[in-house]
């Protein structure tokens, strides 16, 4: 029956813009609610997975959501810090392993995560290139961080100043990249990992004997690293920990009082977890949260919003669908004469039916296929796309 199909095709081509618009409209109607749900559910799944994988989080009193967002996803900043001794305290209970976190500084857009070697075993991260940090000042990058910053093992990254006018404050620290981690499909991919002591150096709590200020060359000869201002005559000073000066590095003050943004507590078992949570309920100066619960609350809100949005999309979709149906009906009416002509010249009834229905059928099929493809794409690349959109 290629005759009627050929005619149908010619009809669609002749009215190609109408066809495109109809296909687009129908695709959206079909895809939007589904795609939205897929995206949201997927995103939620990942967030939840990471939260579930982090049993307990300890931080200074403040917003639990901020604490979780800062410590698990490296977004948002924690207002208050807690002392390093908290990690030892948790460890000394014998109930849990304690992993300190210091998330405050950035290398351009990538968060600098100060922590200890236990973090990598905990998150199942391993180096695909190079090694883990051995000494103060060394940095290990997540897969995406390395790509976005355009660095590899052997290059350097520079921490970004917290504000442009950091007169008496934090100098950028130049850190050698000693390792790049394998992709883990998590926020760890975006991070620049350093030892927590290195984070303290960036904060200005530790330094070497000599002040290494190396004035940059003329603006034309700048490195593509860190927040170096091109064209500005200001001299950028940064610290760097090298093999020559590392032995002279030391900290001022009592390290047990140095700041952490959070401590991840990994209890030995359920009973230990309950005991630990019980103990920390009494302590006012420090707050212990369960990321799973915090994220659950956050996501409940997201899902509520999602429901409304999906309902809205469905409503709009139904209205659009009605319009599309109307368009088809009008189209049929318009083609009444065509139908008559065909009948008069003796066209087979089936041929006429195929021809008349072809427009709707084609649009439905293509829209259906596109909606399916988009849904699959959303499932596959949604998180990436969402991240790109968030950057913009």
């Amino acid at each position: 029956m290629s005759g009627p199909l050929y005619l149908a095709w010619r009809y669609l081509v002749f009215h190609r813009w109408k066809t495109v618009v109809l296909v687009a409209a129908l695709t959206l109607i079909l895809f939007l609610p589904v795609g939205l749900r897929v995206l949201v559910r997927q995103g939620a799944e990942r967030l939840v997975a990471r939260a579930v994988a982090t049993p307990l989080l300890v931080g200074a009193p403040g917003s639990p959501t901020e604490l979780v967002l800062s410590s698990l996803y490296f977004e948002s900043d924690v207002q208050e810090t807690l002392p390093y001794s908290e990690a030892a305290r948790i460890r000394d209970t014998g109930l849990a392993e304690a992993i300190p976190l210091h998330v405050r500084f950035r290398v351009r857009d990538q968060p600098i995560v100060g922590t200890t070697p236990e973090y990598f075993a905990f998150r199942g991260l391993h180096a695909v290139d190079g090694r883990f940090a051995a000494v103060l000042g060394e940095a290990v990058l997540g897969d995406r961080a390395a790509r976005d910053l355009g660095v590899a093992v052997g290059d350097h990254v520079i921490s970004s100043p917290e504000s442009l006018f950091d007169i008496a404050g934090v100098y950028p620290l130049r850190m050698p990249v000693v390792g790049v981690l394998a992709p883990s499909d998590s926020p760890d991919d975006d991070a620049v990992f350093v030892d927590v002591k290195t984070a303290w150096v960036i904060q200005g709590l530790g330094h070497g004997h000599e002040d290494l200020s190396r004035p940059e060359a003329a603006p034309g000869v700048l490195e593509r690293e860190g927040n170096v201002v091109i064209g500005n005559a200001a001299v950028v000073q940064y610290n760097e920990i090298t093999a020559e000066n590392i032995d002279s590095f030391h900290f001022h003050g009592d390290p047990s009082r140095f700041p952490l943004t959070a401590v991840i507590a990994v209890p030995r078992d359920e009973k230990a977890s309950a005991l630990l949570q019980g103990r920390y309920q009494e302590v006012p100066a420090v707050r212990m949260v369960r990321p799973e619960v915090v994220m659950g609350d956050l996501l409940a809100t997201v899902f509520t919003v999602e429901r409304y949005v999906v309902a809205g999309a469905v409503g709009v979709g139904l209205a659009t669908l009605a319009t599309v149906v109307l368009v088809f009906l009008l189209s049929l009416r318009q083609r009444a004469r065509e139908r008559e002509t065909l009948e008069k010249i003796g066209a087979a009834p089936r041929a006429i039916r195929v021809l008349m229905a072809s427009e709707a059928m084609f649009v439905l099929l293509v829209a259906g296929a596109m909606a399916l493809t988009l849904t699959w794409l959303a499932g596959r690349f949604g998180p990436e796309a969402a991240r790109l959109l968030a950057r913009l």
């Binding site: 005619l7 002509t341 003796g346």
Partner: protein, 224 residues
């Protein structure tokens, strides 16, 4: 070619009646149907084509009694054996001229479209003078060219019977002559039986026979 006996036809819900006790159209003849509006000329054309069924009577076309065929069979018969040129040409605007000519071969499974048919279509188009316009759409053609396209479509299957309704109706005098020349040349060469409904008295002399519908008892108006 056409043999009508005791034909009675009425459109539902109207007072119109057509009664044709006897009508014979000889093969290879050229016949004109004339008469006032509403006298049933076009209706008889549609009956002869098998588009309409009489309430009573028999119609035989080229030996086949079409009144005893199912609708499906009548269509199949019509698409093969009857060429139709309507009053309004009725070309499909989304098809090229060539595709419009080839339309019957795409509209019915009994007709197989192959290279020879395409060649024949091109030949017909050349013959009527629209051979260079085969890729254009109907809206780019003049009235006369569209009329000629319709004629090509009608005769593509080489039907023994060609029915036309006001073949010169919308045309200026020059084109009118052209179209008539084409028609008559064709039917003469192919031996096709031609029946034309026309209001135009000036073209009547070209026809071999004129049938006046005042002879048939038609009443009321033909529904539009």
């Amino acid at each position: 070619m056409i043999a009508i006996r005791d034909l009675r036809f009425a459109y539902d819900g109207t007072p119109f009646r057509l009664e044709v006790p006897v009508l014979d159209v000889a093969a290879r003849s050229t016949t004109a149907f004339v008469g006032p509006s509403g006298s049933g000329k076009t209706t008889l054309l549609h009956l002869a084509a098998g588009i309409l069924l009489p309430s009573e009577g028999r119609i035989a076309v080229d030996g086949t009694e079409i009144t005893s065929l199912s609708e499906r069979a009548r269509r199949a018969f019509r698409v093969r054996r009857v060429g139709l040129v309507f009053q309004e040409f009725e070309l499909l605007e989304y098809l090229s001229i060539l595709d419009n000519i080839l339309l019957p071969f795409r509209a019915h499974p009994d007709l197989r479209l192959d290279a020879s048919i395409v060649d024949r279509a091109r030949g017909l188009a050349d013959r009527v003078g629209i051979g260079d316009k085969l890729d254009r759409r109907p809206r780019h053609l003049s009235q006369g060219e569209r009329q000629r396209t319709a004629v090509c479509r009608a005769v593509l299957t080489d039907p023994p019977l060609l029915l036309t309704d006001e073949p010169t109706g919308n045309l200026d005098p020059v084109n009118r002559e052209k179209v008539l020349d084409i028609l008559f040349d064709y039917v003469h060469d192919a031996g096709t039986t031609l029946v034309a409904v026309t209001h135009d008295a000036e073209i009547l002399p070209r026809f071999g026979r004129v049938v006046d519908f005042r002879d048939f008892h038609a009443r009321g108006e033909v529904p539009a």
